[in-house]
């Protein structure tokens, strides 16, 4: 018992490792949201007229919508949108030519986080590496490896840059997967999004390296509204990584991002996320609200979209990466590990919408709840009329650690075609006493044994992550769960 308390104590008192703020001058908009703010953001970013129109349409639609509080297994106070600063950009005097010119304070921040741009640069040209589009509070500071990618015709840049330089692509694809009217937070994002990443892989190109963006929420009280758009043209392939950490804050911060993925004929996009935002302290105070809309469309035949996510952070996670399987023979995948501890709440899952013929989808979700947290899987599998030979397999497992947490599974299965074969399976349990006993009997201490078992439990998902991320994910999991079982 004493040992149990020790371990618990250690876990509870372990602080958020990445809680710090960096001092960089900010250029911020006045607090609150109005049509003027939308115009302000658009003007600040020197956007063309059609972009402003899109934002205003979204804003006007958003005014008519209501904040969703009904269906999700989440509890949060009504958000006061007039208390949020919707635009904050680091002050920059000139264009940066090389990494050396990047604000040294910023570089230090990245170093603390363990991903240093310099390291990336040094490694460039060595095997396959990661290209980082660093995003600090809304504005993309520096995109590395751009030149290497440009040779292949790959466009990888910040969203605002793309608006200026590739307006035809943005016009064609923006809002085509997640329309501005899709849901409350997507509408909000469409109105006030500040920056994000844009990625276009041309016909027949296999992206030679993992693409990655790095988000941080920095200025106190700034909501971050990112927008990511990834397009894989015919026969193209890209693996895209997104990682998140945020400094400790007392008030809740809102993050409402939109991610859109388009895969054309024979195209494939693999999207991986490791999310470790500030989850709030052990009493549930503070932390990030993560209300994200992520959706991909397999537009033409033989295309494939795969989502892999490791969620350990955020006070509240509201996230359903989805795939619309429109093209014949298209494939959708969703692999997820969601860990909640202390007072975190997560309502996450996926949607697989089968429309084309011979479409396949796989869902593997592993939830781990500890402390006083609540972890819910909510997923939809829909087979439309005429989606012949659709095949789905879903597996949702939940692991409970401690007797104050909750684990929930809410699958929705809607089938309108008789040739569909759909299977769903879910289990809820705790770590097996016999497994623990076996490990301990072999001389492995309890803590390590739990780590071992949990890692084994999540292996199916970790196997899907790119190497660089798999290591980070395993570390994150260990940190998040350190001693949460006695």
């Amino acid at each position: 018992m004493a040992e149990k308390n020790d371990i618990l104590e250690k876990q509870i008192s372990s602080d958020y490792k990445y809680g710090f703020t960096s001092d960089i001058d900010m250029d911020t908009a006045p607090m609150g949201l109005s049509e003027d703010i939308v115009r302000f953001i658009s003007k600040k970013k020197n956007e063309p007229e059609w972009m402003l129109e899109f934002r205003l349409k979204a804003y006007r639609h958003w005014l008519k919508m209501e904040e969703p509080h009904e269906w999700a297994h989440l509890e949060y106070p009504k958000i006061n949108y007039q208390n949020i600063i919707f635009y904050a950009a680091p002050k920059q005097k000139k264009e940066l030519a090389s990494l050396d010119e990047v604000d040294p304070e910023l570089l230090k921040t990245f170093e603390k986080l363990g991903i240093s741009l310099e390291e990336q640069k040094r490694l460039s040209g060595v095997q396959s590496t990661i290209a980082v589009d660093a995003v600090i509070d809304s504005v993309s500071v520096k995109t590395t490896f751009k030149e290497v990618l440009a040779e292949k015709g790959i466009i990888f840049c910040s969203f605002s840059e793309a608006v200026q330089e590739h307006p035809e692509l943005i016009k064609k694809y923006m809002g085509s997967v997640v329309p501005y009217s899709d849901n409350y937070f997507a509408a909000l994002n469409s109105a006030v999004f500040t920056d994000g990443s844009f990625c276009y892989i041309p016909k027949g190109v296999r992206c030679p390296m993992e693409l990655s963006t790095y988000f941080r929420i920095n200025t106190a009280g700034t909501g971050q509204f990112e927008r990511t758009l990834i397009v894989a043209d015919e026969g193209a392939y890209v693996s895209y990584l997104e990682g998140c950490t945020a400094p400790r804050r007392d008030e809740n911060q809102l993050h409402a991002a939109v991610v859109e993925i388009v895969a054309h004929k024979n195209g494939e996009v693999k999207y991986s996320t490791v999310q470790n935002w500030y989850p709030g302290d052990k009493n549930g105070k503070g932390g990030i609200y993560n209300f994200v809309t992520k959706r991909g469309i397999c537009r033409e035949e033989n295309s494939k979209i795969s989502w892999t996510q490791v969620e350990t952070g955020s006070a509240i996670t509201w996230k359903y990466p989805s795939v619309i399987l429109k093209g014949d023979n298209s494939v959708g995948e969703f692999y997820s590990v969601a860990v909640t501890n202390n007072h975190q709440q997560a309502d996450t899952g996926t949607k697989m919408l089968h429309i084309g013929k011979n479409t396949r989808s796989t869902i593997v979700s592993k939830g781990i709840s500890a402390g006083c947290s609540n972890n819910a899987y909510r997923g939809l599998v829909r087979v439309a009329k005429g989606a012949k030979n659709a095949r789905n397999f879903s597996q949702c497992d939940s692991l409970l650690m401690g007797d104050k947490c909750g684990a929930h599974t809410f699958p929705y299965i809607e089938i309108k075609d008789k040739t569909a074969v759909v299977e769903h399976e879910a289990t809820t349990s705790k770590i097996g006493e016999d497994q623990l006993f076996y490990c301990q009997q072999r001389g492995i201490d309890k803590e390590k044994a739990i780590g071992l078992i949990v890692n084994g439990y999540c292996r199916e998902v970790f196997n899907q992550l790119p190497m660089e991320f798999a290591v980070e994910a395993q570390k994150l999991l260990a940190v998040s769960l350190e001693g949460s079982v006695g």
Partner: protein, 438 residues
């Protein structure tokens, strides 16, 4: 004749006048406490109104559509029925109650030799006239908004009380017939109370006969299962043409009790079946099984909610559906495990076969769990008949139809197997094979 009914008004507004008439006439001789109860239930129904599809629990079922016609709830006509009742009952020796449109038609409770203390009768007379104090204790206003509508408007239903240590061997059979020319809302209510260490088996059969207009039947059943008691409740919805049935069963289980229920829906039906089980003592056991075979424009929505409040309880659910035509089937079940309910063992399974391209199935099996030392799982599958099995049977000389029927019969058989009443099992097997041959 009644005045023209304004179908554009909301359902509470439409029912308000009728409720007043019912209170003044039909319910006028009832005790004061019951009238108060009805009023309270009606008020709370008016506040909530009908559930809409925005309500997560009614996501796939549009109740408003059912209530959109020119129905009335003020009626009580005598009907002459020319029926072969023999065929509609499973057993010769059972205790029988026959209801028509929510009112008692006739019963065989007097002739039946029941053990001392056992009460089998109807709520409106046996219940209210003789056991009013008992009813006061057990009649409740809880449940969802449609149950509360029932609590306000119920006219009659079965009243069953089994005292301590009595094992009632004779099953009780309830036959409910919808009939007539008028579009009505019938509110029908059962109360079943089983004392400590008692057991009882109830079979309810619902049919429509000589029906010329749409009928809404809003059922509510309260079941109290005492310590160590065993209750079986079988509900059969067969040949309910033009009837929309909303049924809910609320069960409270005490220590070591066991509750078994089977909901068998054999087509020609619009049905929404709610089952709310609260396991309020340790070592309880609950078995919920359902089978629906649908065709045409049938709509069957099975909704279950099992609340594990105490440790060491077990619950098991098996729901199977065979859907043809343009029918829709829904399984929406939830296992809820309270913080204290350690060592819970709960399982939920929903399996479906779609036979036509226009049929649809929606399933939503849910787990909501707050205790860590539990074993809870669910599974849901939807598919077609196994081609290899079909081929095997065809190669043995069976025609395509009979091979198909054999496989479907076996698929349905898993649910029928769970029925503990042998005569009922045989009765249902016959009905199902008839139904599949169609």
């Amino acid at each position: 004749m009644n005045a023209v009914i304004d179908t554009s008004a909301t359902v509470p507004a439409r029912l308000e006048g009728e409720f007043k008439t019912l209170l003044a006439k039909t319910f006028s001789s009832e005790p004061e406490w019951l009238k108060e109860k009805r009023k309270a239930a009606f008020d709370s129904f008016c506040k909530a109104s009908l559930p809409t599809r925005k309500n997560e629990e009614y996501k796939y079922t549009d109740v408003k559509k059912v209530f959109s016609g020119e129905f009335t709830s003020v009626y009580n006509e005598a009907h002459k029925l020319s029926l072969d009742f023999e065929k509609l009952f499973v057993e010769k020796n059972s205790v029988k109650l026959i209801f028509v449109n929510g009112w008692l038609h006739k019963d065989s409770t007097l002739s039946a030799k029941l053990p001392k203390g056992v009460i089998v009768g109807n709520l409106a007379t046996d219940g209210l006239l003789i056991h009013s104090g008992f009813l006061k204790k057990y009649l409740r206003n809880d449940g969802d908004t449609l149950s509360r509508l029932n609590a306000a408007l119920w006219t009659d239903g079965a009243f069953i009380y089994i005292p301590e240590n009595v094992q009632l061997e004779t099953p009780i059979e309830i036959l409910h017939i919808s009939t007539g020319k008028k579009e009505i809302l019938a509110s029908f209510r059962h109360l079943i109370v089983a004392g400590k260490n008692s057991s009882v088996s109830v079979i309810e059969n619902n049919i429509s006969v000589d029906l010329h207009s749409h009928v809404i039947v809003n059922f509510h059943t309260d079941i109290f299962s005492g310590e160590d008691s065993k209750i079986q409740f079988y509900r059969l919805q067969n040949d309910c043409k033009m009837v929309s049935q909303i049924t809910s069963i609320n069960v409270l289980q005490e220590k070591n009790s066991r509750f078994d229920t089977n909901t068998i829906t054999l087509g020609r039906a619009w049905a929404r079946n709610n089952l709310n089980i609260a396991l309020n003592g340790e070592n309880c056991e609950s078995h919920l099984n359902g089978l629906f075979i649908t065709n045409g424009n049938d709509h069957v929505d099975n909704h279950t909610f099992i609340r594990h409040n105490k440790p060491n309880c077990r619950s098991n659910q098996l729901y199977k559906g065979i859907l043809d035509g343009r029918s829709t089937g829904i399984f929406n079940g939830k296992i809820f495990v309270e913080r204290d309910a350690q060592k819970t063992n709960a399982y939920q399974s929903s399996k479906n076969i779609l036979l036509s391209d226009a049929a649809a199935i929606n399933t939503k099996p849910q787990l909501e769990i707050y205790a860590d030392d539990v074993k809870c799982s669910h599974g849901s599958t939807t598919g077609q008949l196994n081609e290899e099995a079909m081929f095997y049977l065809r190669s043995r000389g069976l025609s395509e139809d009979s091979a198909r029927n054999l496989l479907l019969f076996a698929f349905a058989g898993d649910v029928i197997e769970k029925i503990q009443n042998e005569p009922l099992k045989i009765y249902l097997e016959e009905l199902i094979s008839q139904r599949l041959r169609k």
